[in-house]
Assembly symmetry: C2
Homo-oligomer: 413 residues x 2
């Protein structure tokens, strides 16, 4: 690991100390544009020409050839003037939201060094939070951009599904896979995301309502609720009569519970993960860390005959969300249900109950189910431990959401 | 190859004679529903548990393990009552629109035995046209459902991008990859497609206008123009004042040419193909048939620095199409620019000029660029050689398009 290649202006932590990178190198810009002068890291699920894409697992690394081309998203960033400085650590095969890799370690969460950075884009979030890069490329299927953004106190963007190229990115669950961005500021987040979305400007959108989802706030720990009170109050003041408390029942769930989204989400995700990774796992018999092995056991236990009904449920929810959210509308909810878990204190993976994972997925699966864009804003902290707040918009209104997030950033300073 | 397993009611050709299948077997329904009593084939780019997905190339077959799960789309069809009877031949790695596989031969086009079936879903189209299955699963990136549907005289559906699960399907160019259906009738097409789309019924859509694109008709061979005159006249009579002649300039192209779509399309597609298949090709050094080898040479020659600008152009076109097409609107154009080429008379791959391929891509890339759903209707023939006509709808209006195609089928009988 060579520290001397990374020189962003605001570096506060050495590269080796961060444990954010699996490899560092220098890839020069291939053009000039809105990202001139910025540097970025790439989650090691995404191809950089000449490097093996390791996907966070040594058996994967050993059993795959090197990439011969940059992923399309990497190409877009280089073409827009940014330089790439390395590949970042992730959870094994991107299948965790914690950020502790059994083989490669836990990237530093510099704002809360005794806590996990969140995953699976752990190294990308850490590199941004440590000031080693201006922004980082990552993927978000279940929350792998949004959760580490919240845990590490940086900005995170998950796009509408289907609007950023996934060529050169290892699939996990294609129905939900997206390319996202983590960044040190709302401005950098928007600049990088707009390059990836291939749109130059915001379509004119009449500002709509902001729906503050009461069940989402009721779901989170009391201390997180407390930390978000003031930021939400400022948003409500800013939006005035256009801010309203909303219920999940208005958004199309058929029960008084956010879990209706995550139950549906998990069935589809697990079925797709088995389709994407099952053959390789059966053939290569990789060693996994204990948490990831347990997650893959859940995947293998799924009765695939449940998938068709889950997909129908997903389309009903998605249609309801589409009907409810008008152009210019925003949804406001916490990004995560709790502070980042302490290192080594990993909450067990399960999809139901009141533990960390089920509540987390209840919050993050809304964007997955609805194909919606979401930004996690680093608006608060509890004794220095970061707490994120999320805004979502209608499918396809990514540029509007990014510009709105930029315009609101000042509220929380 | 065991013929005795396939017994659809209207079989006209023996399985071996069709050369449509790479393997036949019997996979029972996993449930009961709208597809009860129907049987289907699966393009061998799509996983069936226990079988290797060969992707039309022997080196691929030899270098990959067997699938451990059915692709999600296969699971949906089995769950809805259909039974699967085999895997169908395709062009190597799905990267051709002709349907001649150097290693596995050319599936029979029963309506025009001296002509190619079209690709890359050659076996799926042949199996349907030969009456060996009621419908077939296929993929469509550049036209791999629509072109063989037109050539073989069957119904073909390409969905809106992002609405049918691609888990368990080998990626070619993810920005454009879709799962589609070929079927012997509009009714079966709609039933199977609605199962895959996970929607039960059609959202109420006010019938809109039908835009007959004049440059698309001007682009095709005179005999194809002639064959489509009467079907288009019947459509115009049916729609009355809501039928209108339209120009590509209204659809957002910046030149008076359909080629503006296909030029943009090809740059993105080739970049994504290299990202998806380049590392394997470099490592496995597969033997390719001469046509496919030439196509991969084009991919390797692409200057990837053109990709960012092409993606921006794509989003401009896509937005223009979205603005132009209102809910309930249809676009009407020929599916292909010429009759199916004669076997062995393969037109050379190129992306510009007035040859078969550039004109074909000029027609098929509209759906890819705009993420639009498209149905190819088997409405005409020239001395028995089939000619298809296409209808497209707004992104997300797949159910409306399928129901409309069903309701129009009688016009062409």
């Amino acid at each position: 690991m060579e520290d001397n290649l990374i020189h962003p202006s605001n570096s506060r932590v050495e590269v080796a100390q961060s444990n954010a990178f699996i490899a560092t190198f220098e890839l020069s810009p291939a053009g000039s544009g809105p990202l001139d002068g910025l540097c970025f890291g790439v989650k090691d699920l995404i191809d950089v020409a000449g490097w093996k894409t390791g996907c966070g697992n040594p058996t994967w690394y050993d059993s795959h050839p090197a990439a011969v081309a940059n992923a399309v998203c990497v190409e877009q960033l280089l073409q827009a003037g940014a330089r790439c400085v390395g590949k970042t650590i992730l959870d094994e095969l991107a299948f965790s939201l914690l950020g502790q890799n059994h083989f490669y370690g836990t990237p530093l969460n510099p704002r809360a060094p005794d806590r996990v950075p969140g995953g699976s884009s752990s190294g990308s979030a850490s590199a941004v939070a440590c000031g080693l890069v201006d922004f980082a490329l990552a993927t978000d299927t279940s929350g792998s951009v949004r959760v580490p953004a919240s845990n590490c106190g940086v900005w995170g963007f998950r796009p509408s599904h289907g609007f950023i190229s996934l060529a050169g990115v290892n699939p996990l669950a294609p129905t939900f896979d997206t390319i996202g961005v983590l960044a040190r500021s709302a401005d950098v987040l928007a600049e990088a995301a707009l390059v990836l979305l291939s749109v130059a400007s915001v379509p004119a959108t009449k500002p709509g309502r902001i729906h503050v989802i009461k069940e989402a706030f009721a779901l989170v720990d009391a201390d997180v609720q407390q930390a978000l009170l003031e930021p939400v109050r400022r948003l409500q003041n800013h939006f005035g009569a256009r801010a309203r408390e909303a219920s999940v029942t208005e958004l199309g769930t058929d029960e008084l519970a956010l879990a209706t989204w995550s139950n549906t989400y998990c069935i589809i995700q697990w079925a797709e993960i088995k389709s994407c990774l099952g053959a390789w796992i059966a053939a290569a018999k990789p060693e996994f860390g204990p948490d990831i092995a347990a997650s893959f056991n859940l995947v293998n236990q799924l009765d695939r005959r449940r998938v068709a009904a889950a997909l129908q449920q997903r389309e009903r929810y998605s249609q309801s969300l589409h009907d409810f959210l008008k152009p210019g509308d925003l949804v406001c909810m916490p990004t995560t249900p709790a502070l980042a878990p302490r290192k080594g204190d990993a909450p067990p993976r399960s999809s139901s109950g009141s533990g960390y994972y089920p509540r987390l997925l209840a919050l993050t699966s809304l964007a997955g189910i609805g194909r919606l864009p979401q930004v996690s804003l680093p608006v608060a902290d509890l004794a220095g431990v970061p707490v994120g707040l999320s805004l979502l918009a209608r499918h396809g209104q990514d540029a509007f959401l990014l510009e709105t997030a930029k315009s609101l950033a000042g509220l929380f300073e």
